[in-house]
């Protein structure tokens, strides 16, 4: 699974950092850096993070090479 954050929307509420600290990290006061590849054991945490995001900026999904060819 892959994740991408719409950083145009992100306002640094950092809920994702609490839900999935191994995937999402704050860089400074409100910049967000994240692991683009989501390990299997983190998928449910990233789902929670995506649901908890106040601005709904997190997308989790399969990459194109993962089945759409």
């Amino acid at each position: 699974m892959r994740t991408v954050v719409d950083l145009t929307r992100c306002q640094g509420y950092a809920q994702c950092v609490f839900h999935a600290p191994e995937v999402f990290k704050l860089h400074g006061e409100e910049g967000l850096l994240y692991a683009t590849a989501v390990p299997d054991d983190q998928v449910s945490r990233v789902r929670e993070a995506a649901a908890a995001c106040p601005v709904q900026a997190i997308l989790l999904g399969e990459e194109v090479s993962g089945g759409a060819r």
Partner: protein, 451 residues
């Protein structure tokens, strides 16, 4: 008629962010016909912003930045194949392998590529990089991880500044050479460029402004550069961050309105031909497009923004499968972000479309502020530094053509929020890097007004 639009053959040339999101939207809107995506890179659509951040810092590898799908676009993917032209009469996209793909409607989303160093022999030296593709990101990350003595970054736009930031975070010595007076000045104007320069120097960047790089030297492998002030910078890695070039050459014989600033299209993303007649079967989205925007004098806007690629792709896809009366205009207010030297910089509107600014909240000294840009008494843009939650408010002011300086709004309004300062946006031709936002005027390549 609407039923016909939901069927048929759609070809999308460009298999990156805009192409993928358009493909998903077409299916979302009920398109049931055949859908083919053509991409010259041999990879599934991937995200580029992490390449100058997480990937360089070693927090993600370049081969794991594929974009997640919102839904399976059920498309045929032709990856690693370059499109070489469009036959508009026969309605076919020509491919480099000699094949051609018939279309009923075509979406062009070929984006941009990194502007290469001017001297091809110097550019070919080991240790000289640009940063745009996954291969670029992987190669540069590997080289930085090996611990070079010094990195030279040419160009202090957003990409160059982010690379310099990553280098410092990794403890690497870095020199930034910029022809303009300060980093980011072309995008943000003089006042915020002062903050950008202070941030670079406080983080230990050897920042050289008002200079050009006259030669890259080395015998097969890069060893340093000559600057126009006569000095020499010894370095073992060089990153050329001189902005982007639009991928339009393949359309030279297409009869479309194609130029160095992109392909002109109407507010509904339909491409113009070279006579200014709008097509109804060819659409454009993302970095390769130029489109009119009512908030900025209906000038043609060229953007290199992630958010614009997504929103314009969605509008283009909707219009491709909708009858005239149901089509939507692409009117989104330009928005972008950059993370560098521990600061989160976000922008809404077009900061270069301005004559004056005010610091509405916060201060430069606090490294936390909201700056509002105005043009002829109207709010046209805002930039926040570590204050992104205020941005939507200013976006609302821009969308409603609020007066400038803006009326009191925030509880933490700065003391001098009504004292205007010239925005001092320089002529883009004085900068090393290209503009990421260009208002290209009504004559595409003659009246370049602002960066």
């Amino acid at each position: 008629m609407p039923d016909d639009l939901k069927d048929g053959r759609i070809v999308i040339v460009g298999a990156s962010l805009a192409g993928l999101r358009a493909a998903e939207t077409l299916r979302e809107e009920g398109f049931t016909g055949s859908l083919t995506l053509v991409g010259d890179e041999p990879h599934a659509p991937y995200d580029r912003p992490p390449l100058s951040k997480q990937v360089l810092l070693g927090q993600a590898t370049a081969d794991t930045t594929e974009l997640p799908m919102r839904r399976d676009p059920e498309a045929e993917w032709r990856l690693g194949v370059r499109a070489t032209g469009v036959d508009r009469l026969a309605k076919r996209v020509l491919l480099e392998d000699g094949e051609s793909l018939p279309y009923d409607r075509l979406l062009i989303a070929t984006g941009t590529r990194a502007r290469p160093w001017g001297n091809p022999d110097e550019a070919a030296m080991d240790g000289v990089f640009t940063l745009r593709t996954r291969e670029d990101g992987a190669g540069l990350a590997e080289r930085l991880a090996a611990g070079p003595e010094r990195v030279l970054v040419i160009g202090a736009g957003f990409t160059g500044s982010e690379i310099a930031s990553a280098c410092r975070e990794m403890g690497l010595q870095v020199t930034v050479a910029e022809r303009g007076p300060a980093p980011l000045v072309g995008a943000l104007g003089a006042t915020l460029s002062k903050l950008a320069a202070v941030m670079q120097r406080n983080h230990g960047v050897d920042l050289r402004t008002g200079v050009t790089v006259t030669a890259l030297t080395g015998n097969g492998a890069f060893t340093g550069a000559q600057l126009s002030d006569g000095s020499r910078v010894p370095a073992d890695v060089c990153v050329v961050a001189l902005g982007a070039v639009r991928n339009v050459e393949w359309l030279a014989d297409s009869g479309l309105a194609v130029g160095p600033r992109g392909i002109a299209c109407d507010a509904g993303c339909r491409a113009f031909d070279m006579y200014g007649i709008v097509t109804d079967d060819i659409y454009v989205a993302g970095d390769v497009s130029r489109f009119p925007h009512p908030l900025f004098g209906y000038q043609m806007l060229s953007l290199e923004h992630w958010g614009n690629a997504v929103e314009q792709a969605e509008v283009a896809a909707h219009n491709m499968v909708s009858p005239g009366a149901l089509r939507r205009p692409h009117l989104a207010v330009p928005t972008f972000w950059s993370t560098q030297f521990g600061l989160n910089i976000k922008s809404v509107g077009v900061p270069t479309y301005s004559d004056y600014i005010v610091i509405a909240q916060g201060s430069l000294e606090a490294r936390r502020l909201a700056m509002v840009y105005g043009y002829k008494g109207r709010v046209t843009a805002a930039v926040t530094v570590d204050m992104s939650r205020s941005l939507d408010y200013y976006k609302h002011l821009i969308e409603t053509a609020a007066p400038f300086p803006p009326p009191p709004g925030a509880a933490d309004r700065a003391i001098a929020a009504d004292i205007t300062i010239p925005s001092a946006v320089p002529d883009p031709s004085v900068l090393s890097h290209g503009p990421t936002v260009a208002l290209t005027g009504h004559l595409p390549d003659r009246r370049l007004t602002v960066v």
